[in-house]
Symmetry: C2
Subunit: 440 residues, 2 copies
């Protein structure tokens, strides 16, 4: 089903608007054709078809806005910088300021450009590196790991996730920024999402809002288990459809079945992890945020060796060039770094994962981060569900008041998921490395 260019723009917009609102969570009406004249196409399942156009527009837009920023002198970030929105029109034929391109005309908006530049700097990300990661290499589309209807793109170097967000989520992030980064300034150790940019692409009457964030689960490390944990037990089991995937995302009840004894850390690591989670949950509670999850990836080192891989190249898909280091946010850095020097805490052995063990002494690498913190507005919509859940089990409702949510989340993580052992783990990764060296 295609609409030719003879169809009037107005009719097209109406159709697209209707369908995006009523049916699809996201439609981007740009094609990847080589035509310089705008040509709109539409499919009932347009994500595959239009995704390359969206990727192109993202890269053009970010390339323009980050490049443009370099000409602005470095200065202190002011409160008002959080509320600035910069906008540029990128016609396909190009302009004095923007290059020609093969997509329909679009407008690219950058939210709080100076504030986000400051935050990227706070996280040790240089403008050139940000540009290179996002613009110079192809973006990889991920299958949607959640039920949010968002699209996810990963940069080729595994560092950044681009996620489409709804209007309300983008607004909420804008409102959140001053206080959120006030906390980041005090506490660079955090498992909260690290937001590096907020953008909007406008074309054909449609707005697509995007956040750039840190990537919690590197693709170059095979995750033998993947969990989305909330500390609730009500309906917290992966669906049959999810289980059929090659790498399903399991939930709380699945975790309890699969890792009944939890995951063991040495005392120092356990304490750092818990302290970080506590501080993060306090921030989330202060913003009345709930319904967030801990995204948890478990890499089983022994299993990986049996499969012939190693963490630095594990999964064996060769996406990350061999020898490339993790540059920015890692799990290890998030709980005991200073926010900037991920490299110092990251070896090629661990790829930034946190050493852990099962109760059977199996060696693990743990990757984790708190996700989905922008959806608190859903609370109202979920009230009915919540009420039913309350009747079903007053203590295990996933959506509850923020203080209760935070303390239940923390209790679950500190007792059921993560446990401490008295033994030091410091050498076990290196032991692994040594055991591999003779084969070199």
């Amino acid at each position: 089903m295609e609409y030719s260019s003879e169809e009037t723009m107005l009719t097209f917009k109406r159709r697209v608007n209707f369908i995006t609102t009523a049916y699809l969570p996201f439609v981007f009406s740009l094609t990847g054709t080589q035509m310089m004249c705008p040509m709109f196409s539409f499919h009932f399942f347009p994500i595959k078809t239009t995704s390359s156009a969206l990727k192109g527009a993202i890269q053009l837009g970010i390339g323009y806005t980050v490049g443009n920023l370099t000409s602005k002198p470095d200065r202190d970030v002011l409160m008002q910088d959080f509320y600035v929105v910069e906008s540029v029109f990128l016609p396909s034929e190009g302009s004095n300021l923007t290059p020609a391109h093969h997509y329909p005309d679009f407008r690219f908006k950058t939210y709080a450009p100076l504030a986000f530049r400051y935050f990227r700097d706070l996280f040790g990300i240089k403008p050139d590196d940000y540009l290179y990661s996002l613009v110079n290499e192809p973006l990889i589309e991920l299958t949607n790991p959640g039920a949010s209807g968002s699209l996810f793109y990963l940069t080729s170097d595994d560092e950044f996730i681009i996620k489409t967000v709804q209007h309300k989520e983008a607004k909420f992030l804008q409102r959140l920024l001053p206080g959120y980064y006030m906390n980041l300034n005090q506490n660079p150790r955090t498992l909260l999402p690290k937001f590096y940019g907020l953008y909007c692409i406008q074309s054909g009457g449609i707005n697509i809002r995007l956040v750039v964030m840190n990537n919690v689960l590197p693709r170059s490390v095979k995750m033998h288990y993947k969990y989305d944990l909330k500390g609730s037990t009500y309906k917290r089991r992966a669906s049959r459809k999810e289980r059929e995937k090659s790498c399903p995302t399991y939930k709380d009840l699945d975790f309890q079945d699969m890792h009944e004894e939890g995951l063991y850390f040495d005392t120092e690591t356990y304490n750092n992890l818990m302290k970080t989670l506590q501080r993060d949950c306090r921030v989330l509670e202060s913003f009345k945020i709930m319904d967030y999850s801990l995204l948890l990836g478990v890499h089983v080192l022994d299993q990986s060796h049996r499969e012939g891989g190693e963490p630095g190249q594990a999964g064996g898909d060769g996406r990350r060039p061999v020898g490339q280091r993790v540059l920015y946010s890692t799990a290890m850095e998030s709980i005991q770094g200073d926010g900037k020097a991920a490299e110092a805490l990251t070896t090629d052995d661990t790829m930034g994962g946190i050493p852990a063990k099962t109760h059977k002494e199996e060696k693990l690498l743990i990757f984790l981060g708190i996700i989905d913190i922008l959806q608190s507005y859903r609370f109202i919509k979920k009230l009915e569900h919540s009420w039913k859940a309350l009747v079903y089990d007053g203590d295990t409702v996933s959506v509850h008041r923020p203080g209760f949510y935070a303390s239940r989340f923390l209790k679950f993580m500190s007792t059921r998921v993560f446990r401490k052992t008295q033994r030091k783990f410091a050498r076990f990764i290196f032991a692994t490395r040594e055991s591999k060296q003779p084969s070199c």
Copy 2:
């Protein structure tokens, strides 16, 4: 004129309220008598009489609130902490929580206690030191240096100023805090006022709001000249009444007469000073703040020697115990320190002042800070005056739009007030010291 205790409380409150609103900028209706039963007195010039009672209530209140804070665990400051107001009632007969005292019952409110604790920590002020400075030694009342009608108290160690502020100023400070301290976090070098606490004393239907700030002009150093500079020339000359004082505060036109050639700094110091002023003015402009002043104290070293003093004990009034160091904010530290280590940049020679010279090579120490940043709401009241001034001289109106105000302020400071010389001043203070040593 006194009201006995037989007069009903209601009548008294009405009278006091009427007079405070209509006539006096501030009345505090507590007496310093030893009576345990509240006894109200009132005078047309009550400041002297009631001031000791106010000082007592300040010290009791701050003593209680800071002591109370020590029991609260240290944690990250959250956005919501800026909006917290803690309140305690201190009856004269004492309570479980508060000591008995010799003043009428009063309520003491502490604004944003955790946020201010964090900021005091940011400035390197330990709770015990803050308590000691404010509570354990007598407060010294200063004659009002401005036209604001505020009362000023100085702590005995010269470190802190307590200033009474109007309701709107306190509100404005509360609103300002998140963004203001966002900037302080990025930029500890600042000549903006450093706010260490905001309090309110309620008694007999009257609210007295107080801010605790850094002291710009140490009393232990004799200021041979003192200026309040705005970068405007319209009506910027000290009044005859002001000139008759022993240490008048002069204004812009006076400065131009008295220091026609300006004050000379070595290049590095000049650049640091200008950079600090520029960043500060950008923050003020971003908050639409105008009408602020640079408070500037000039200590002439040669003159001081002729008078037989030296900076560390100069003025000869012996208020600061000999040998006591400046602990916190100093002028020197404000332009080239890290916000915490005033001691490292402060010697007994300079008492934190910035070395400078006149064009005649007279050696100076400069003390300075930006003051009166909370009064921007006055703008509306001053519109009429401003309009007249505009007619008189379009370019020299003291009250103007914030961007214009900031750039005129900066231009005046960078060209008329402060100038740079190529010569290094590094040794001249020590030379002074050496020249004095033979007499020891």
